[in-house]
């Protein structure tokens, strides 16, 4: 897959979430984008009970409709040293999490979902969706993928120009913070990078909610 940048689009004071989404859809339509189906990214969070000993560990299990056969799991380990271990597995991993439900319990009230419409314009894939946490509206996310390029550092300027053309000043002139660590600008982009960006955004929405 190509380099993907995920941005949170702030909902203006006097507008609702769906209105904001409609506005963005109108703008991308004006650029000549063609609608091509729906998308869904969901995230369920499991954490270890007190019996495990030590500080609790958290496993985020994410699905992306763009990779329908895969399950992405990100384990936040308290360490030492604290780290995040990613795992890409096939669909039956969800069954295994069910088997482990006595050890890792799902926090249902923090289940997050980004759902919306996909658009294609030349080699760009744009997804505009709303984020909900246990069916409460949380915000608007815009995902832009430039499919022919795999090195974020190579196409950031080009993508910035594209994103600014319909998102305006919401787009910063420097690459998003996710790309500025671990030499991510020069690594080959993986589906897992998209998942991690979604997780980062979900986490900040949760923080706002105070969970």
């Amino acid at each position: 897959m190509g380099v993907t940048i995920l941005l949170s689009y702030p909902v203006p004071e006097n507008k609702t979430g769906p209105q904001t989404v409609d506005l963005l859809i109108k703008r991308i339509g004006a650029l000549g984008a063609v609608q091509s189906g729906q998308f869904l990214v969901d995230c369920e969070t499991f954490s270890s009970g007190p019996t495990m000993g030590g500080p609790p560990r958290t496993v985020h299990v994410l699905h992306n409709s763009e990779q329908p056969a895969a399950v992405f799991a990100l384990l936040e380990s308290p360490g030492p040293p604290p780290k995040t271990v990613p795992l890409v597995a096939d669909g039956l991993f969800d069954l295994l999490m069910l088997k482990m439900s006595s050890i890792y319990a799902s926090k249902k009230q923090t289940r997050m979902e980004a759902r919306g419409t996909r658009f294609e314009i030349a080699d760009f894939l744009v997804k505009i969706g709303t984020v909900t946490m246990s069916s409460n509206f949380k915000g608007v996310l815009v995902e832009v993928e430039y499919r022919p390029c795999f090195i974020a550092g190579n196409c950031w300027e080009l993508m910035r120009e594209f994103m600014q053309s319909f998102l305006g000043s919401v787009v910063q002139n420097t690459p998003p913070p996710y790309f500025q660590v671990h030499n991510r600008l020069n690594d080959v982009y993986q589906p897992l990078d998209t998942i991690q960006q979604y997780l980062d955004h979900f986490a900040s929405y949760r923080k706002v909610a105070g969970l």
Partner: protein
């Protein structure tokens, strides 16, 4: 009725055997005296042969007359021809709807003629022919050198490999792998080029002449799945608009750089041109100064200066 048909068949057979032996006679007559007739008395032998054939003709002739006379005439004096009798009917033009068809095909031919005239004029202005003769004709060189035939497709494969290795060494970020899809064919060679982490291309050579270019994304495979090692997929298009456009431009470049007298220079120039795509996603258009136009990066590179342009901005 049956008897009648049998007799008719008999008569037709007799006619065809008569025709065949008349044919034999004229064949023999046209060939004249042949070597089979030997050395001595060749003419006599030849005349005897002709006499035999004439005798055969007359016997067949008799047979035809006999069979004809044996055909019983139908009572009304006409032989029933069945459905074939209807062949001559329905000749009115209105009922055959021929007119509209004819008009259609006339229009079509007319259009074809017109379009081919335009194409001819267009092609005459833009010399894209790869044959040496027309090249020289158009530049008005003398007739003596015109007879030289292009030979760059006939270069031994080892020297092509040498040129490719030299080019490979020249560019750090451009790697080339050489494949020989048909080891028995000593002129065909394919190379797979990967340019940085931007694109991959497959280039098919006949001798020193580039025949075919296909450009794809860095992660798109050229290896075919059917397990035949060394077989590259020359046909499948890239999934991405950008690389389909570059493939088009690369084929134009391949024709532009083609030079029958200096084939290795043509290959070198083409590779230099292809190498300029290492900054495909970072270049801005020389004319409009933007990265994107119609959501596409600058996919055109000037052949001489290698400057980047959008498809619609190119000079």
């Amino acid at each position: 009725m049956n008897v009648e048909l049998d007799a008719l068949n008999e008569a037709l057979k007799a006619v065809s055997s008569l025709r065949s032996c008349v044919g034999n006679f004229f064949l023999s007559l046209s060939q004249g005296v042949r070597s089979e007739h030997g050395e001595d008395h060749r003419e006599t032998k030849y005349i005897l042969e002709l006499q035999d054939l004439v005798a055969e003709i007359s016997s067949n002739m008799r047979k035809v007359e006999q069979t004809c006379s044996s055909i019983p005439l139908p009572p009304d004096g006409q032989i029933n021809l069945g459905n074939t009798a209807h062949l001559a009917h329905e000749t009115t033009q209105d009922r055959q709807a021929l007119y509209s068809e004819l008009v259609g095909s006339y229009k079509w031919t007319d259009k074809l003629h017109e379009i081919s005239n335009i194409t001819f004029g267009f092609l005459a202005q833009n010399v894209m022919k790869r044959s040496y003769n027309s090249y020289l004709n158009s530049s008005g060189m003398n007739a003596k050198r015109r007879r030289l035939t292009p030979s760059c497709h006939n270069v031994p494969i080892s020297s092509v490999e040498t040129v490719i290795t030299a080019i490979d060494r020249q560019y750090q970020d451009m790697n080339m792998n050489v494949y020989r899809p048909h080891p028995s064919n000593c002129h065909n060679l394919q190379i797979q080029v990967s340019l940085g982490r931007i694109l991959r291309a497959v280039i098919s050579f006949r001798g020193m002449m580039i025949e075919w270019v296909k450009v794809k994304a860095y992660n798109e495979e050229f290896q075919t799945d059917n397990g035949q090692l060394g077989q590259l997929d020359l046909w499948t298009n890239s999934r991405h608009h950008v690389f389909r456009k570059i493939t088009e431009n690369a084929n134009a470049a391949m024709l532009h750089f083609y030079s029958p007298t200096l084939p290795d220079l043509a290959v070198r120039s083409f590779m230099t041109w292809l190498h300029s795509f290492r900054s495909l996603f970072t270049d801005t258009c020389r004319r409009c100064g933007n990265h994107l136009l119609c959501a596409m990066p600058p996919t055109w590179r000037d052949f001489r200066t290698l400057e980047a342009f959008h498809e619609d901005c190119k000079p």
